[in-house]
């Protein structure tokens, strides 16, 4: 039997490989499908990761609806809306970038990746502005929640009265910072990934034969956008 193995050893195992296909895959298609399924499964874990915080949100909102109604007035709906639009635009440019990669349009791919990156940076810039407002007003999380006198009165077109403030208002800001902070961290990771794609795109590594990284980073980016689309109404638009 071992002789039989020797005879056929070369014939069977050493089939030529595409340079982009790792040795343990049969072909490029299997490799692409594995990577894509892997990313989808990873996105499931991401959704469950966020769902813990969404669950905290649901529990405390049902226990203390008055806290959410009162505290959300400190959030700037205008900035939130701009950020929502920015992220939706970035999802569009990302989806376009995937198409560019599939068609081998190097220049368009680089432009769309750059635009996505710029949108992400704009989002983070606006987020930083919002965070610094909260810091100045002392409307921060948990034990550090000490609203400054300036925080009351005319805020974002409405009026916030100090004497109306319900107990445990800090819970809202704990949830706000935990959710937006975790989301912001995901945006930063996404920016790193898009930058990495941009460098590889500049080297001309993507084309109709191989665009897996663009595709799966795109999936990740859409999820990050999608989570924000839930965060915006849940935190900013409360009636």
């Amino acid at each position: 039997m071992s002789q039989a193995i020797d005879t056929i050893h070369g014939a069977v195992d050493h089939h030529p490989h595409d340079s982009q296909v790792a040795h343990h895959f049969e072909n490029a298609e299997q490799q692409f499908e594995s990577a894509k399924l892997g990313m989808w499964v990873f996105l499931v874990t991401e959704i469950l990761f966020f769902s813990g915080l969404f669950c905290v949100y649901a529990v405390y909102r049902s226990l203390h609806p008055e806290v959410f109604l009162y505290a959300h007035q400190w959030l700037d709906k205008g900035l939130g809306a701009i950020n929502t639009i920015v992220l939706i635009v970035s999802s569009f440019t990302m989806a376009w970038a995937v198409r560019n990669a599939q068609l081998g349009q190097k220049k368009a791919l680089m432009i769309n990746l750059t635009l996505t990156l710029l949108c992400a940076a704009t989002f983070m810039g606006i987020k930083a502005e919002e965070y610094s407002q909260k810091y100045e007003h002392g409307t921060t999380w948990g034990a550090s929640f000490q609203p400054h006198p300036d925080a009351f009165g005319e805020v974002h077109g409405g009026e916030i009265k100090k004497e109306d403030m319900p107990r445990n208002t800090q819970i809202f800001f704990s949830i706000y910072f935990a959710l937006t902070g975790l989301h912001g961290f995901h945006v930063l990771v996404g920016m790193g990934l898009i930058l990495w794609l941009l460098i590889r795109a500049a080297k001309g590594q993507f084309g109709p034969q191989y665009f897996t990284p663009v595709d799966i980073v795109g999936l990740y980016w859409h999820l990050v956008d999608l989570i924000w689309i839930f965060l915006f109404p849940l935190l900013y638009l409360i009636h």
Binding site: M1, Q3, A4, I5, T7, I8, H9, G10, A11, V12, D13, H14, A22, H23, H24, Q30, E33, S34, L37, G38, V41, F42, V44, T45, E46, L48, F49, F50, S51, G52, L53, C55, V56, V59, L63, H64, W141, G142, A143, S144, R167, N168, Q170, I171, S174, F177, A178
Partner: protein, 575 residues
């Protein structure tokens, strides 16, 4: 000229001493191990790492048992005692039980059972190992720098107030969770996309069904503990107040989050062990598995039911009695798929030609101990009895029967089963048998007294106790040392085999799954030629060959002969 491509000259010149037909010799030196992407070598690194963690966790257990020898102080102070049982629990759950079978046995055999060269993402697999190592180092730092006294459950609000290293331990648990998620993800994608030609879902060995169900739990439940310990971390560092009543938070919410993960995770520990038991019992009984589909689907059922029962850990935490009733009912539903498995294994053994080699002894020990562990769970799932048994030694004994007596016995049985394949060496059956007898007797001696004193009201985690419990505690302590002796005998049996064991045949047990249809130890790429896929339990496929002292697969032999005939045919035509 022949049509067979020869290895290029350069290739031969650069790798002269390497042997591709034996993965242990396919590379030499520390670097070839530490940076390997070979699933088999990663499995061995896990084996060493988890073995060391197991030793550490076991020593803590022995220290706890020694302290309980007398009703008052025996060897350590109360604070130290709290730290000892906390570290025992945390190390055994997070570092040993959760990764054990998937990371060691799963990593080694999963690609081979599928007829694949490796898992889908070998680099990710190596990353999982290093994340595990990082988490393990985190726990060692906790041990030496800050200590931990919350119990492995990190219950709020105590975990928020204690001055011990909760934040660091939470970070460690978070990293370990990531390692577990990545392993699950890797296995799931591999099972979906890398099956050999002809291997449908119902031709997969049952261990793969077990590992697939495990992956589902790892992927769905582990992120939740990730965010939970993340919130605990923020609680410690920034006082965000989700779980702190002083800041309007709810400590019971922490318990819900914690058990939403930590209940399903007990099935991460037990399901792969059940898979291993299915493999051992069929091969060692020389019988086709009884009720293949029932065993396969019961794995999935256990994984799914496992998500719906977490509230049974919280019957006395003040949750509504309606919720407790529903959780209690759902808890009983888990016993259905578990019982299906046990009865199918017994039916497989019925009229089989049972060989009492060490793997089978451990598998039968598993059946016995899992039976006790499962049946005592019914008392804890029943509301009226649980109120009395909650937080007593009864529950300690119950979960040790399922976790140690079942999951870890399954791991040891699996190691005895796959050892010849992993290292290509046989071990002494006598030593293996002695280890089993000591482990089995020691285990029961340790935990049966705990059932008794628990039912009489001895609470868990107490440093001192009334003198009437002393006899039970002393029997339990004696048992724990017998158990330790048994485990060291098993270790000695393995080490002895590495140095002085006889060479193992390719298929010593007559198993039919693909992992046994390659050399022992396997090729670097697992197979020279992927064997044809057959029914994984068709015992007629293999026969005993006296000459090679091994079982030989008829289907594989036929396929190889056909290939050889074709190859020589082409050769003749070309020359």
């Amino acid at each position: 000229m022949t049509s067979i491509p020869m290895p290029e000259e350069g290739e031969l010149a650069t790798k002269p001493a390497l042997d591709e037909t034996n993965y242990l010799k396919a590379g030499y030196g520390l670097k070839s191990w530490l940076l390997t992407q070979d699933h088999k070598r990663i499995a061995i690194m896990y084996m060493i790492g988890i073995g060391i963690a197991f030793l550490l966790g076991g020593l803590f257990a022995l220290a706890v048992r020694l302290e309980l020898w007398t009703p008052t102080k025996t060897i350590v102070e109360a604070e130290t005692y709290n730290k000892l049982f906390t570290l025992h629990g945390a190390i055994m759950t997070f570092l040993v039980l959760v990764p054990s079978i998937p990371a060691i046995i799963g990593n080694f055999v999963l690609p081979m059972m599928l007829g694949a060269k490796d898992v889908a993402f070998p680099k990710l697999n190596l990353l999982s190992f290093y994340l595990w190592l990082l988490g393990a180092i985190g726990f060692v730092v906790v041990l030496f720098a800050g200590d931990l006294d919350t119990g492995w459950t990190f219950y709020a609000p105590y975990s928020i107030r204690t001055q011990t290293a909760v934040a660091l331990a939470a970070t460690g648990a978070f990293i370990l969770g990531f390692s577990s998620i990545l392993t699950g993800l890797n296995f799931m994608v591999t099972i979906h996309k890398m099956r050999a030609k002809g291997m449908g879902w119902f031709r997969m060995p049952l261990l793969l069904w077990g590992l697939y169900a495990t992956s589902v739990i790892q992927i769905v439940a582990t992120p939740v503990i990730g965010i939970t310990v993340g919130m605990l971390f923020l609680e410690k560092l920034f006082h965000i107040g989700f779980f702190d009543p002083n800041l309007g938070g709810d400590p019971v919410l922490f318990e819900h989050f914690f058990w939403f993960y930590s209940h399903p995770v007990v099935y991460v520990m037990i399901l792969p062990a059940m898979g291993v038991i299915s493999e051992i019992i069929t091969a060692m009984s020389r019988r086709h598995i009884f009720g293949y589909r029932f065993i396969a689907f019961s794995s999935i059922a256990i994984a799914l039911f496992g998500f719906l029962v977490w509230g049974h850990h919280m019957f006395v935490s003040g949750q509504s009695s309606l919720m407790s009733t529903i959780f209690s009912l759902l808890t009983f539903s888990v016993s259905i798929p578990s019982a299906i498995k046990v009865f199918n294994w017994l039916a497989t053994m019925y009229k089989g030609s049972i060989s009492l080699a060490p793997p089978m002894l451990y598998a039968m020990g598993f059946l016995f101990l899992f039976g006790i562990g499962g049946l005592t769970g019914l008392f804890l799932g029943t509301l009226s009895t649980d109120v009395h048994l909650h937080d007593t030694y009864f529950i300690v004994a119950h979960f040790h029967y399922t976790m140690m007596g079942s999951a870890l016995i399954g791991l040891i049985g699996g190691l005895f089963f796959y050892w010849p394949k992993i290292f290509g060496k046989m071990y002494s059956n006598l030593l293996g048998t002695i280890s089993f007898v000591l482990v089995f007797l020691g285990f029961n001696l340790t935990f049966i007294p705990q059932f008794l004193m628990g039912s009489m009201g001895m609470p868990r985690r107490y440093y001192n106790y009334p003198p009437e419990f002393q006899a039970y505690h002393q029997w339990s302590t004696v048992g724990s040392f017998v158990l330790a002796l048994g485990l060291f005998t098993a270790l000695w049996c393995f080490l002895h085999s590495l140095f002085w064991g006889e060479k193992a045949p390719d298929n010593p047990w007559g198993a039919v799954t693909l992992d046994w249809k390659t050399s022992s130890p396997p090729h670097h790429h697992n197979f020279d030629v992927v064997p044809p896929v057959t029914d994984p339990y068709d015992m007629d496929d293999v026969y005993w060959d006296e000459e090679s002292k091994s079982f030989i697969s008829r289907s594989q032999q036929a396929a190889l002969e056909e290939l050889a005939a074709n190859a020589s045919g082409t050769q003749e035509k070309n020359s």
